[in-house]
Symmetry: C2
Subunit: 214 residues, 2 copies
DNA sequence: TAGATTGTTAATCGATTAACAATC
DNA sequence: TAGATTGTTAATCGATTAACAATC
């Protein structure tokens, strides 16, 4: 497939397409038009056609898009079958929630190790993964060819953790801290989740709304 | 202040400005130019000036922007002093993490109630907030004039929960489920956090990178 | 005053939407 | 064939960047 550079905006929408196509498949819908899909997803039909066409002609004129095929194509495009090997750093509340809450296998990952600097947590199981002490991080990553790390540690611990991971070849991060990884390591792939930024944005919207009412 | 409609892109950047200005203030930096701030934040100076100017002339020609004043202005614009009264639904792993992890007071909120449908969790403390059974939700919201709800429940439970909250006047949501609230309630203010979408986007980037290497 | 730096307008870039010919 | 619906080009819209006059 001759895939040219896909814009960031399209990429961000792909998981949504995937989710809705899964739902349609579960409802045994065989085909869907860009118009109908757009309606369900509350976007324009134009956008649906533009987006899907970035990856090749999955639709048929006069017919629409075959739901199952399209779903699987997007699954491949997203690379959800890769089972990327992941370690999670930080077995506190957030790390616990991520480790138990996310359906990693369905999202392209396999969680193989959890690390924490707190001695007391070592040996505890979260799901079926055992928590190890921080000190084992390097040997574990090298032995297990880790692809990606999920950072659920405090911001203050992040620069050191990233350095250690980077030094044993981990170049991809799911980052819940405010540490700006790509500032120091431009060749990394990073997905940031800034929960506190999201809260502030919500606060702004609520505050703004109040202004309008008065 | 005559604040015209601020674009979504600017709003999303506001928390970042606020964070960096806090850091600068802690370092006792008194003033900063758009150029220097842009450098720190890895954006263009043009964008900094455009963004800040949406809210009024905080800068002075030939001088730059006063850090402390600007920080406080943005704090006001974000409405972080509002202490919006919040309830959290779902005291599972994610709810626990959110309740203990977030510095609500600094982010414009005050967590006053936690609810779960699991009888066993009722009475348990998370931080200094007690978990109540779901059945008390309505009476509690009405008595306490709740502004906003954080939804850390399963998707399947979301439509019912939102209906109940909406019916007792809660119109703002921080939504961790995939339930599309604004589809059913267009007059609500919603901030969505779709962690699984983020994971898939990360997976895509990793998968794409591989393609390039080969 | 001279230098620095903003506020603001104009130019560019990218993303979304509209339109329609191609075709199943 | 006629109707439906895509793929794709062109038009529009919005956001970012560049430029520079205003002014501290």
């Amino acid at each position: 497939m001759n895939r040219q550079n896909i814009s960031k905006s399209v990429i961000k929408r792909l998981p949504r397409y995937y989710r809705f196509l899964n739902e349609l498949e579960e409802q045994n819908v065989e085909r869907i038009s860009s118009n109908k899909l757009a309606e369900i997803m509350r976007v324009t039909a134009s956008q649906v056609r533009q987006d899907l066409n970035c990856f090749g002609g999955f639709g048929h004129q006069g017919y629409g898009y075959p739901v199952s095929t399209l779903k699987n194509e997007i699954k491949n495009i997203l690379g959800l079958n890769n089972n990327y090997k992941a370690v999670l750093l930080g077995a506190g509340n957030l790390g616990n929630a991520i480790a138990t809450h996310m359906k990693f296998e369905k999202l392209g990952f396999k969680l193989v190790g959890i690390f924490d600097s707190n001695e007391r947590l070592a040996g505890k199981y979260i799901g079926d993964v055992i928590v190890q002490n921080d000190s084992h991080l390097e040997s574990f990553c090298k032995e297990n060819k880790i692809d990606v790390a999920f950072l659920c540690i405090p911001r203050s611990a992040a620069p050191d953790a990233v350095k250690r991971l980077y030094d044993c070849g981990v170049k991809c991060f799911w980052n819940f801290t405010h540490y700006f990884i790509q500032g120091d390591y431009p060749d990394t792939i990073v997905e940031n989740v800034h929960l506190s930024d999201k809260m502030m944005t919500l606060c702004f919207s609520m505050n703004e709304q109040e202004g309008k009412n008065e």
